[in-house]
């Protein structure tokens, strides 16, 4: 391999990483909120698919990407409402209800796609979001384009990342939320309503997963494919473990993952002697490895996945 192609791979990774990391980051941030409140939502995969199909349809027919993101958020919240209802109000098993959401989203996104776009062999394409170059700053060599030349949603995501970090660890409500995840009885004793917190966290988190799907469609791929997330929702859940329930660590994890993903996209061209199926395994093997590294000393919210009994 020549040094030129090494350069090409390196720059492709640097430029491609951030867009690839964003959908998973959005979903993982939502799941971080969820889990800090003690709710394990394994339906992220299905919710992302629903976000993707609704955002795609909205953008296709109205060409209004803000509306597309809003609708994707709403559908994510709606799906998670059912999860919250099952796991908070009914105290049902969260793994089961999450898996049910995954199946529903998986199937329904395909059904809706066929309803709107029929059975055409080549899917319709939408214009992906234009990149916004921030004047002057984006002219800084290398880093300039990387940080200041992304699409408008990127900046929103980074702001919400910082906001969620601030919210969880520096505000009273954030502390309450984490207490609900650790010990809902204590939270109740100090006058916090655990059920309300769990409902809101779950619905907001689900909305974020919907946004993740929307981002995937609107800015990365520009089209909808059946089951296009291919496990990204579960990888997002894995990132929460890797990030040890802290948003900034989750962000680092998502960047690592984005880099692996781009490497895998470019490697297929450059390592032709390796069967491509082995390269396609990479994101999943990588997830196994990072979750193993993180899992060794991870301390999860004590009441994660457990229903809250009032007595």
């Amino acid at each position: 391999m020549t040094s030129l192609s090494v350069d090409l791979i390196a720059s492709a990774i640097l430029i491609g990483t951030i867009p690839r990391a964003m959908p998973i980051l959005l979903a993982a941030l939502g799941e971080t909120l969820d889990q800090n409140a003690g709710i394990l939502n394994l339906g992220v995969e299905g919710i992302m698919l629903m976000g993707a199909i609704t955002a795609f349809t909205t953008e296709y027919f109205t060409e209004n990407f803000v509306l597309a993101f809003i609708i994707a958020f709403a559908i994510g919240s709606l799906f998670s409402f059912f999860h919250a209802f099952a796991s908070v109000s009914l105290k049902a098993d969260q793994v089961v209800s999450g898996t049910a959401l995954w199946f529903i989203g998986w199937g329904l996104s395909g059904v809706l796609y066929r309803f709107y776009f029929g059975n055409s062999p080549s899917p319709p394409v939408i214009q992906t979001l234009h990149h916004v170059s921030i004047p002057y700053l984006s002219n800084i060599p290398f880093i300039g384009r990387l940080i200041f030349g992304q699409d408008p949603i990127f900046y929103t995501v980074i702001m919400s990342l910082l906001f969620i970090h601030y919210f969880l660890f520096k505000t009273r409500i954030g502390l309450n939320l984490r207490t609900v995840g650790e010990n809902p009885l204590v939270a109740k004793a100090v006058g916090v309503n655990p059920s309300l917190y769990r409902y809101l966290a779950c619905m907001f988190g689900g909305g974020m997963a919907g946004l993740g799907g929307a981002y995937l469609v609107l800015t990365v791929v520009g089209s909808f494919f059946y089951d296009m997330t291919l496990g990204a929702g579960f990888i997002a859940v894995a990132l929460v473990y890797f990030g040890k329930w802290k948003p900034l660590r989750v962000f680092v994890g998502s960047l690592l993952f984005g880099a692996v993903y781009v490497f895998y996209l470019t490697a297929e061209t450059y390592f032709q002697y390796v069967p491509y199926q082995f390269i396609e395994m990479l994101p999943y093997l990588f997830t196994l490895i990072i979750i193993l590294i993180a899992g060794t000393r991870a301390h999860s919210p004590a009441s994660l996945g457990k229903p809250f009994h009032e007595e």
């Binding site: 049902a92 959401l101 395909g110 894995a238 196994l288």
Partner: protein
Amino acid sequence: MNYLRLGQIFLSSLLAVLAGSILLSLFGIPPITGLTSLFYGGFFSEYGLNQTLQTMTPLLIMGIGLSVTFTARFWNIGGQGQYVMGSIISTWVGLSLSSVLPQSLLILVVLFSAFFAGALWSLPATLMKIYFGVNEVITTLMLNFVAVFLLDYLVVGPLQGPQSKALNAPASAPIPAKDMLGSLLPGGAIGYGLILAVFLAVIFFVLLNYTNFGYELKLMGQGYEVSSYAGVDTRKNIILAMSISGGIAGIAGMLQVFQINGVLLPQVFSDITTSYGYVAIPVALIASLNPIAIIISSLFFSGILTGAYSLELQYGIPIDIVTTLYGLVMMFTLIGMYLNLERLIKKT
């Protein structure tokens, strides 16, 4: 109480299918017409019933396997990967030993190798959970992807048969006809694989309800700490349960090759209609993890799947509708079960 529970599940499933059938009207089919056609195509036409009983075999076997780990609230979502590994190893062993062993012996060897392969594939997730506390849902799921890509490679690589190579088709060499499992009725309706599956259902019903191991698993379902206090070796039980569950999924993969397909074919992730490892999850859950009840739920689920094919052929309704139905059935039965139980507890 038990009959009540069965009734609840039946009612919730029915409601879920009714709710799902509203989707049919999106495609201009009145829900009643669609439902009739779904059930006729799945259960009452001769071809449909035949197909349903075939699809039922892997679903039933994997459903039973999952019920073992699910009873201990250990979520093995990796049935798909274990099933794929079972099909790979059994094909490889079967093809290599076909000329050496007589059929009866070969099937036995293949069966054990498939069990071993499935059990082995479940091991990394088990160990990661036990020693590092890593969530098993994610690890087992990631291993599914790895297994499916491995299969993808093998059927165009080392395991590709000479005929498929000439046709450029991703498939292994066909299993010789003499090695294939037969069936009870002519036409292949009730294969020996299905009989084995029902037999396993009975065995596992006894295992879960009348043995110490089954009792310990149920205890673990109430919480690992509690059962540790009660003197249960939770680690040993998880390893055992997962190995059994994975091994049985491996056998399902072997039967798919040796009873139904006669050849090793690649898997498509997105295609739930062949991803029986995922379908087996709701199959086990809506049967309340009772192996005997899984006979019924697997029949129900495979019938819906077959029926959905005829819906697609007749009315052009996308087959994905069946995934939605599965999810809805799962959600509705979950809600149904917890809703009523709550009320019962409050009343008494």
